[in-house]
């Protein structure tokens, strides 16, 4: 399966609609960005909690 077909399949699986005439352009622009999100899943983030800026930043400002 080539890159564009793979991208089409990914769009279809997610229920995303991209006009057929611009699929190649959108794939060229954004498929690498979307693929790179998968890198996040492989990172060793230990047992970290999600960041809460309203709490963390104020706590550190006070400290």
């Amino acid at each position: 399966m080539d890159e564009i077909e793979r991208f089409r399949a990914r769009l279809a699986a997610a229920g995303a609609v991209v006009p057929e005439e611009i699929v190649s352009l959108v794939a060229a622009q954004f498929a690498p960005v979307l693929d790179s999100l998968d890198v996040l899943l492989d990172l060793d983030l230990g047992g970290l909690e999600p960041f809460v800026p309203t709490e963390q930043l104020v706590r550190d400002a006070a400290g």
Partner: protein
């Protein structure tokens, strides 16, 4: 006839107004005349509030005559078109909002500007829905980069950057979700600040991504940015994310010297994959800071290279969550780029979002550790100067990069972590395009950041250069 007041700084206008050397009405009339004469070419303004501005100027004159008036009394300012201005239809850069009713109330930041005496001159064009870093807007028009028409102004606060650079207004407000104040500041050769997350209220600002959105000022100098920040910063009961942290007198803190300031450079990140001339100017800026007495050393921030993908993993779903309900049936009138991005949000899973949120913690912990050992970080604001309008990829050294990713690579880490970041001009390429230095500080320590930037601008004159015809 123009009295030559357009082009003066916030600080100088304020000084002349307080000394009653000029009247606010003259100042505002002069700026309106400049906008009328030149904005046809710049295309920075979405809406000019002529009558309201003249009325506000007369009120400022009356207040000043009584020995009253706030710190910005009579100073004109422009506001990005996703920030509510009472009586004005906010387009958010999109034809989808063309028939929307005018705003019934000012955003909190606009109310604060007015309380400080500033005169709102109008609203500025932007990348559609603030959803992009170039400022290119096929539906409502792309502001010209005053340094090089044909090059993008940077976005999403494109009109604010262009208006300030062109001298149409001394200061403007922008919003910054992945770099949208700092990128136009960089490409248009002006100074822009993304304050700490929670430092400035977002009440009345159209959201893009709630955990990444910030409001910040653009002006031609750090001093002017400090004066505007002082007016808009501080807790707001209308915005639950706005922090109850004391607001210092930023302008008074500008006199702090650079001597002894410790500046860390994440060289492994900041000097990889950047344009050769940007590298030269940035290296020269570090030399200038050293000569001013700063201690510059390398630091390592391993997870910073993941910042842009983490912003993607957060921004797309958050924008989808904020914009779809807001747009409703208007979605069909949104331009193709923003609509595609909202569709692509469906490809970001809960696992991606959660991993991005946890990466933020990791990156923040790394940066907190680094900022315990140094006072500030320095890196370029953008790795490239302004690309041409319509350019999708750029050649940087041996590699070809997408323009969108290239523009945001150095700005996204500080939306993720909420740390304050200042963009300021640090030179020009041989073809005359601005290059920008970015300084980053500790949470809510804008005072140190602004003082360092001001010290840099005392020793250099990059921020005083003006584009041709301004």
């Amino acid at each position: 006839m123009s009295a030559g007041l357009a082009g003066l700084s916030v600080a100088e206008l304020s000084r002349r107004l307080r000394a009653r050397e000029v009247r606010a009405a003259q100042v505002v009339e002069d700026h309106l005349a400049e906008v009328a004469a030149r904005d046809g070419r710049v295309h920075a303004f979405a809406h000019v509030t002529v009558d309201a501005a003249l009325l506000a100027a007369r009120a400022a004159d009356a207040a000043l005559a009584r020995g009253e008036g706030g710190p910005l009394a009579g100073v004109p300012i422009a506001v990005k078109d996703n920030v509510a201005v009472r009586g004005v239809v906010g387009t958010n850069g999109s034809p989808a909002f063309a028939g929307a009713p005018p705003a019934s109330a000012d955003a909190a930041v606009v109310a604060r500007l007015r309380a400080a005496g500033a005169v709102v001159l109008g609203t500025t064009h932007m990348h559609e829905l603030a959803f992009g870093p170039t400022g290119v807007n096929p539906a409502l028009g792309t502001p010209a980069n005053p340094w090089a028409p044909g090059r993008v102004p940077g976005g999403s606060s494109s009109g604010s950057g262009a208006a300030v650079a062109a001298g149409l207004v001394p200061a403007a407000l922008g919003t910054d979700t992945g770099g949208s104040v700092r990128i136009p500041a960089s490409l248009c050769g002006v100074t822009g600040l993304k304050p700490t997350y929670g430092r400035v209220s977002r009440a009345g600002v159209t959201p893009l991504a709630w955990s990444l959105d910030h409001v910040g000022p653009l002006a031609r100098s750090v001093e002017d940015v400090a004066l505007v920040l002082e007016a808009i910063a501080g807790a707001d009961p209308g915005d639950a994310t706005c922090a109850r942290v004391a607001v210092p007198r930023y302008a008074e803190a500008l006199g702090r010297p650079c001597r002894g300031l410790r500046i860390g450079v994440p060289r492994h990140f900041a000097l990889a994959g950047i344009d050769a001339e940007v590298r030269e100017r940035f290296t020269q800026a570090l030399g200038d800071l050293r000569r001013a007495g700063a201690v510059v050393r390398d630091v390592t921030v391993p997870f910073i290279e993941h910042a842009t993908r983490a912003v993607g993993g957060l921004m797309l779903p958050e924008a989808d969550g904020a914009l779809r309900p807001l747009l409703g049936a208007r979605l069909e009138h949104v331009g193709v780029e923003a609509r595609i991005l909202l569709e692509l949000a469906k490809l970001v899973s809960a696992r991606h979002y959660l991993a991005a949120a946890r990466l933020r913690t990791r990156l923040y912990e790394e940066l907190r550790g680094v900022l315990a050992a140094v006072d500030l970080l320095a890196l370029p604001t953008t790795p490239i100067p302004a690309p041409a309008v319509g350019e999708l990829t750029v050649r940087v050294g041996e590699a070809t990069q997408g323009v969108l990713e290239a523009l945001v690579v150095f700005t996204t880490p500080f939306n993720l972590t909420g740390l304050p970041a200042l963009a300021l001009p640090c030179g020009f390429t041989r073809t005359g395009l601005p290059v920008s230095l970015q300084l980053v500080g500790r949470p809510f320590d804008e005072a140190t950041l602004l003082a360092a930037g001001h010290a840099y601008q005392r020793d250099t004159d990059w921020h005083t250069r003006r584009p041709p015809g301004s």
